[in-house]
Symmetry: C3
Subunit: 178 residues, 3 copies
Amino acid sequence: MAEKMGVLTVESPAKEELQKTSGLSMVVFSGDLDKVLAAFIIANGAAAMDLPVNMFFTFWGLNVLRIDGSTTLAKPKTMMEKMFGWMMPKGPNKLTLSKMNMGGLGTMLMKKEMVKKNVYDLPKLIRTAQEQNVRLIACTMSMDIMGIRKEELLSGIGFGGVGTFIDAADRSRMTLFI
Amino acid sequence: MAEKMGVLTVESPAKEELQKTSGLSMVVFSGDLDKVLAAFIIANGAAAMDLPVNMFFTFWGLNVLRIDGSTTLAKPKTMMEKMFGWMMPKGPNKLTLSKMNMGGLGTMLMKKEMVKKNVYDLPKLIRTAQEQNVRLIACTMSMDIMGIRKEELLSGIGFGGVGTFIDAADRSRMTLFI
Amino acid sequence: MAEKMGVLTVESPAKEELQKTSGLSMVVFSGDLDKVLAAFIIANGAAAMDLPVNMFFTFWGLNVLRIDGSTTLAKPKTMMEKMFGWMMPKGPNKLTLSKMNMGGLGTMLMKKEMVKKNVYDLPKLIRTAQEQNVRLIACTMSMDIMGIRKEELLSGIGFGGVGTFIDAADRSRMTLFI
């Protein structure tokens, strides 16, 4: 890294290193409404401050990206894959709180309070994130295990494996696992 | 970033970038005793190593900062806000374990073991953090949703929104979501 | 940090700062199969990209490192320590999912799908991590509280307190709490 510059020896400032660490990369592992809300509020906050943001959805977090409706699949699902699909919440409106869900009552009350206090709901936070160019990436390995197909997920998202996440995170100033 | 310096072109080392990334910023989302203990042990450890530490309390994490006692509120609470207040643990002594709580028995046994093994309990960890100038910040948006007022929280803490967190985290070397 | 260089004043690029921040440090707090799988997939992914990786196991995460079998202990356990030992899962094969465990059925089905989709199981992911020189560190304070002894844990791991984690994390580009 040392470069001769005339008679002076100057350590080159490894500028690429610096320039590449900016913004936020997060793993969204959870599919709980409260944690996913926190993830998108942080993501939108960072994006509003002009920072690049990557959200990598894996395991239960994949449910956030699911479309609520039936889709014609190119490749039929196995029995097990269908079961996973039925048991997991289909999209942002179906997620529930990690605490005080109380059979859905707690989740409903929390959503009501959010409306009353003028806080964006999850579908709107997701749209805003997409409008602000937050990169939403679905983990292909989790999709494979759970039998979730690209056709079943939100349009405009990316797909990638763990390498995609590491690569993004290694260029980010902030990293979170949610 | 390139600056002409006499005949030599030197890339400026973006030193502000470097200098500003130090220390630790964490989101304390959880209100589970075990996770909050981990958060404060990490925070105090970093502070003891002279690193700046920011703890941003949001959602269930806000309960950590609640005072256990009645307070006269400037603005009365709605029914819903009162309900949230009753259902959530009021302060560090009321938190329970995320696992093996067993109706409070597991939490009690864990606390006993901590005393026996000379590990600080949560109230003492919080006091130590404040003494070590760890910045405790309550998320105003979560306070608004849950109807928690400033008068109901520990004194000496700060208040802020997601921008406050991002700003602190972007200047930190380490970021955690707990 | 400013150095006189002939007539030019150049800010030295604080290169040590740069060089020391590389790789990934994570706290593995959770002992849930799904979260621990995610932790090891991310760790192995980063290690495969030649990045230094530190995994710090604390609280329930310690269970990942436990050997499933009886061990002769140098110092006998107290009744309470024995109880903790019995109630917590002993090693990677005993962990269960954080969601949809359904008395073990969900965990079994998930493991079956992972075999079918050619995803490494947890014991293999741990071995791979060790082969790739991922540093596995057991939190000595948690070991003390829970009464877990070194003889009861996987060989080839390190031991340390919160300072060990902070020190590693402060040299890492990426930090996660899982």
